[in-house]
Subunit: 261 residues, 2 copies
């Protein structure tokens, strides 16, 4: 363990002491956590009011603010980065106002109890990276079929055919069947030949016009020529884009959360 002590905490400070502490921390661009009893007024695009209760309030070093209730992963109030802060103690109450200019909006948090108050300077240079497997790419196409092409409608996935399993199987906007083979890396001759086999098999059972599409970030040398000869197509798709689509399908839940309120 290193001897670095990036956090300073106060337990049950008076509102005057808390106001001083927060002012100093914000001016030094430290992050602040308050475990407290508070109430919140938001004015900006629309307005909201949160009645008193015990919560966790976080002010980050970039001037963003989050108010978290004891349940739910969504903050009940928040402000993005770049807020200006007005902090003052008045009687038994601590007031922290986080103000944005464009758009003009403010979150006013009033506290009558601060159980824990911490200020910290955190060092975080770690990279965040998002990955997708072939099965993630498959799920992304099922979630957003326009990743393959506009008008594509999946019918099934992991459809068993004699030579194996078709990754995605659907219909294009002109009603033609589409057999999709997905590779998360550069697709080689093997991938093209595998897709050709699947297409041949599906032809024997479906008496309809049929397309075969190889989905991969890119093709190895010579594979485009092979695909063309086999009457197959290539669609470039990055696994990273699929990971973002899937990730977004989760963050949509945040949107739905606000719709329900």
């Amino acid at each position: 363990m290193s001897s670095r002590k990036p956090v300073v905490s106060l337990e049950n400070p008076s509102v005057e002491r808390a106001a001083e502490f927060i002012k100093a921390a914000v001016s030094e661009r430290k992050a602040v956590i308050l475990v407290c009893n508070c109430w919140v007024d938001y004015k900006g695009r629309a307005s909201s009011k949160l009645e008193p209760g015990e919560r966790i309030v976080m002010i980050k070093e970039d001037g963003s603010v989050l108010v978290h209730r004891p349940i739910g992963y969504e903050p009940v109030n928040w402000q993005p980065a770049g807020c200006l802060f007005q902090t003052r103690a008045k009687g038994e109450t601590l007031h922290v106002r986080a103000i944005r200019r464009k758009p003009s909006e403010s979150v006013s948090i009033s506290f009558d109890q601060v159980y824990l108050l911490s200020a910290m300077r955190l060092i975080d240079r770690g990279e965040f990276s998002l990955h997708a497997s072939e099965s993630d790419m498959q799920r992304a196409i099922l979630f957003d079929p326009s990743l393959l092409e506009e008008g594509f409608e999946p019918i099934s996935y992991e459809k068993k055919v004699e030579p194996g399993f078709v990754d995605v199987y659907g219909v294009d906007r002109d009603g033609r069947l589409v057999v999709v083979e997905i590779k998360r890396r550069t697709a080689g001759r093997d991938a093209a030949l595998q897709l050709a086999k699947y297409v041949e098999f599906v032809k024997t059972i479906a008496h309809r016009e049929l397309r075969g599409v190889l989905v991969a970030p890119r093709l190895a040398k010579g594979v485009q020529t092979l695909l063309t000869r086999l009457g197959l197509e290539f669609k470039a798709l990055e696994p990273k884009k699929c990971a973002e689509i899937l990730r977004r399908s989760e963050s949509r839940k945040l949107v739905e959360f606000f719709e329900k309120k």
Copy 2:
């Protein structure tokens, strides 16, 4: 100030002590905050990796999890409510794994430094309420014109006409001009007559087919008859719905955040 002490904190605990403390807190359904050096692996819909850095980790009493970097109001990793937790110390490292069954996904957080560890039982029964003014309702319609009707396209707002200002002014799907008057409460005869005046004025300057629509949560008694007589229309719209639309326009930023990554 009350004597309630809902928070217990440890500074710089060993990984063994931290593991015990977290296990106990989670089993008692307390919320936990860690200020720490950590790294994170997510596996579920797609997968992600966050390299080591100093962060704030929050486990809520409902089993939701948030990992916050020192900047940005968005968590870098999170899990919704209902996670099961596996906590253990191994050598110099603390491992906390938050697991969901449906969909199957897990966030594994590893810590080699815990600067501050707090557990708390918070009581929060405060209600959250969202409000919208007439100008919020106006902005909501500009943001999502289908609130008025499908195919509506706003041209301007607060358009000056001789008798005052038209709230929203646009074109419907059939190319007719639409003059919109908004009220946040039950609309009475005054509102209908005011709209009629605006429509009369616009008729003198625009030689096109013209509609007048009164937008409000509801109409006072007899006002529908008056509107019909004046050749005007009513569209029911709750201010609360407008507030949600505006709120959602903010939470979209979270979605965009993940798209940019």
